[in-house]
């Protein structure tokens, strides 16, 4: 039994792939909805937010996993919060100093990562009880599962709400009613309620494909 588990064993790979589908943090665990509504009006912030969450969640999981045997049980939530907040502030400071444009892009979202329920959820549920490497994979996997949903929602909201994708025009100008065409952007898509509806539709599609996810 002293054999070391290979780095990319089936179990470890599942840590990466499960959150993309059957244990997706947004559609199955329904965590991180707040930021999913706030940043998905356009595709670009959705992508940037996903990458930032991935960086923070990956590192936070590793740090908490390294500390897991020393953390006093009664203040573990506070310790987790301090680790997350410190990481997020470090990332923010470094971005401001070296890639100011990116930092301007992200503006408040970097700070918002601190309050993302997925991060604390993963620290509490996984990193506290597992070794650093699986914890890192779990962090990256969950952030990817979060990111996929953000990007899908951002894609539809930007396309239908503004007629652009990643800032580039997709719907030709001549299609618009003001230019004599037949098409009009759906203003509702840029407002946050439509993000909730979009997430709802994704949940619906996912559960009709996989009936095991349906609760009684």
């Amino acid at each position: 039994m002293s054999d070391r588990e290979p780095l990319f064993s089936k179990k470890n790979l599942n840590l990466l792939s499960d959150p993309m589908d059957n244990s997706n943090p947004i559609t199955v665990q329904v965590l991180g909805i707040c930021s999913a509504l706030a940043v998905t009006a356009q595709l670009k912030p959705s992508v940037v937010m996903s990458i930032s969450v991935m960086a923070v969640l990956g590192f936070a999981n590793v740090i908490i996993s390294l500390l897991r045997n020393g953390i006093p049980n009664r203040i573990r939530i506070i310790v987790q919060l301090v680790v997350i907040a410190a990481l997020v502030i470090l990332v923010d400071q470094v971005l401001k100093a070296f890639v100011y444009d990116v930092s301007r892009q992200l503006s408040v979202f970097v700070g918002l990562i601190i309050t993302n329920c997925i991060i604390m959820g993963r620290l509490e549920a996984f990193a506290l009880g597992n070794k650093p490497w699986p914890a890192f994979l779990d962090g990256v996997g969950n952030a990817a599962g979060y990111g996929v949903i953000l990007i899908i929602v951002g894609f539809f909201r930007e396309l239908l709400g503004a007629g652009t994708l990643y800032g580039y025009k997709i719907i030709p100008d001549s299609w618009y009613i003001v230019n004599g065409g037949f098409y009009e952007n759906n203003g509702l898509m840029v407002l946050s309620p439509m993000a909730l509806v979009a997430v709802g539709i994704i949940i619906w599609v996912q559960r009709s494909r996989n009936r095991q996810l349906i609760e009684d």
Binding site: I71, P72, R74, I75, V82, Q93, G161, V190, L191
Partner: protein, 231 residues
């Protein structure tokens, strides 16, 4: 040592907090000069953007030195006051009564004629918004505008910093035909105003749009005496 004992918990918490505080302060202090430099370059870029000179982080300083021919501070009576216009902190100025405010003016030469650039600062929905507006030398026609914000909602209020919103400011008038100061209305679909005094607001970004309208009115009206003295 028992990791659930009170002593251990206290020591753990104290060491952790001191350690994290030290790491964060050291990072913040060491990165401060770089960050300040970025903010200064960004400001120069924004000033240049209001007269439609595109600048990058690399050439902003050089272009600024070339194009901005003069800068000074005026008061609400339109008289010049001593001081460096570039370092005026608008946040502090706006907290004072209008008669005591330092009002910065930047003069920029574009194609042989002088444009006047005025800084603006107000509030959007979530936080401060600011910008620069440039005027032709008739002190009435807008030559260009550039707006920015701290944390307006992307896709909604944050659209104030896009060309789609900024470009229509060009050619708008601050004074009506009778010479009365009216500023520029950022209109919702159901609001009507003479075409030369209005730009379209942002759907879904009403509070930001109206904050911007108030910023234009408040900040530009402080310059009224200065405008009249230049006419």
């Amino acid at each position: 040592m028992d990791s659930n004992s009170n002593v251990y918990t206290f020591i753990y918490a104290s060491v952790m907090v001191i350690l994290v505080a030290a790491i964060l302060s050291i990072t913040a202090i060491n990165l401060k000069p770089l960050q300040d430099k970025n903010i200064e370059v960004e400001k120069k870029k924004n000033i240049l953007a209001s007269v439609s000179i595109p600048a990058t982080a690399e050439n902003a300083e050089k272009l600024y030195a070339e194009k901005i021919v003069n800068s000074y501070i005026v008061n609400s009576k339109g008289e010049k006051v001593d001081g460096d216009a570039f370092v005026v902190d608008l946040k502090k100025e706006r907290a004072k009564p209008v008669s005591e405010q330092n009002l910065p003016v930047f003069e920029c030469e574009v194609d042989g004629s002088v444009k006047y650039i005025l800084p603006l600062r107000g509030s959007g929905l979530w936080g401060p918004i600011w910008g620069y507006i440039s005027l032709e030398n008739d002190m009435n026609t807008v030559y260009g505008a550039n707006f920015d914000h701290e944390g307006e909602t992307p896709g909604l209020g944050a659209e104030i910093s896009t060309d789609m919103f900024e470009v229509p400011f060009k050619g708008k008038k601050l004074f009506d035909q009778a010479g009365k100061f009216v500023s520029i209305l950022v209109a919702k679909a159901n609001e009507s105003a003479p075409e030369q005094h209005k730009v379209d607001g942002i759907s879904g970004g009403t509070i930001t749009s109206k904050g911007l309208e108030k910023m234009l009115l408040d900040d530009l009206s402080a310059y009224e005496a200065f405008f009249n003295s230049k006419k």
